[in-house]
């Protein structure tokens, strides 16, 4: 199944919707290479939350996509690697060296920097009072302290795999 790619400002968001065969992954690579040029994108987020397996081929292809897009002037961040998937990848000795990773879409946008950040705030402005005051569940998490007053419109589900996914951020 072809991965839908959304354009948001300077960024592209490729949101994987179902399991991917090797051919689907290569199609994603070609689609992204094409659109980064067409839309003059500065950043790409690949959301792999639904993937239950990231094996050596998938890792190699994701890494190739990130390095190729870098040569085209865009930064790539892989978001949503599940805890069990991260565990299996580490056992296999697979790394995403030189590739940005983030916990989820929201942190992926933050990773890519200021412009998406502002769009994000604009979109969710005034939507939820408690969010503007900072969500109580998030206050103990160091990674959110620096922007705890920022409005949030993403779901507030806590991800148990926070620590293990962080450990994949090699080479940054």
């Amino acid at each position: 199944m072809r991965v839908p790619i959304l354009k948001q400002g300077d960024y592209l968001i490729a949101s994987v919707q179902s399991v991917l065969s090797d051919d689907d992954l290569q199609l994603l690579r070609d689609d992204l290479a094409d659109r980064v040029g067409r839309f003059r994108s500065r950043g790409v987020i690949i959301d792999v939350t639904v993937l239950d397996v990231i094996d050596s081929f998938a890792t190699r292809t994701l890494r190739a996509i990130a390095h190729m897009l870098k040569l085209r002037g865009a930064h790539t961040v892989i978001v949503g690697i599940q805890p069990d998937v991260a565990f299996a990848m580490v056992q296999l000795g697979l790394t995403l060296a030189g590739v940005g990773t983030a916990l989820d879409l929201e942190e992926g946008l933050e990773y890519l920097g200021g412009r998406a950040h502002r769009l994000h705030e604009h979109r969710s402005f005034g939507s939820r009072e408690e969010d503007r005051l900072g969500h109580p569940l998030r206050t103990g998490r160091h990674s959110h302290e620096h922007h705890s007053s920022r409005p949030r419109d993403e779901d507030e589900n806590d991800h148990p795999g926070h620590a293990s996914q962080r450990s994949l951020e090699y080479g940054q």
Binding site: D22, I54, D55, T59, Q91, G93
Partner: protein, 133 residues
């Protein structure tokens, strides 16, 4: 409970089918948590090896009890050209293609038992097991 799955491997989509069936069978056999992902990933690697080196073959996933141990058994079989130097193929990071050289040695790392036998011109059979802990 069937406790056996035979998946013909001819296209890259079959790799996905094999690891999905493997995950379901592993669940039926009592595996849970990260073991399911680890087993599915190992199946993905040996199934891909079939596509890459032999074009077609099959993956057979069964209940893998032995003595007092309970677990899952995965056999990946093909009638391809065989692997000339099995020892070399099992070296981590060695690849005949443009790969990472992680596939087969990686699958070995993920499972508890891993055996490979290959005869030039006759094919390759990989048998791997994981025990429930």
């Amino acid at each position: 409970m069937a406790n056996e799955s035979r998946i013909p491997i001819r296209t890259t989509a079959d790799i996905v089918t094999a690891r999905q069936k493997g995950r379901i069978l592993a669940m039926e056999l009592g595996f849970d948590g990260s073991d399911l992902t680890v087993i599915a990933t190992a199946i993905s690697e040996v199934a891909r090896n079939i596509i890459d080196h032999a074009k077609s073959g099959e993956v057979i996933i069964t209940r893998g009890n032995q003595g007092g141990k309970r677990g899952i058994c995965v056999v990946a079989h093909d009638s391809g050209p065989g692997i000339a130097d099995v020892e070399q193929a099992m070296q981590y990071g060695y690849s005949t293609r443009n790969g990472l050289g992680i596939g087969l040695p990686g699958a070995k790392l993920l499972m508890d038992e891993f055996n490979i036998s290959s005869v030039a011109g006759q094919g390759t059979t990989i048998t791997m097991r994981k025990w429930r802990h």
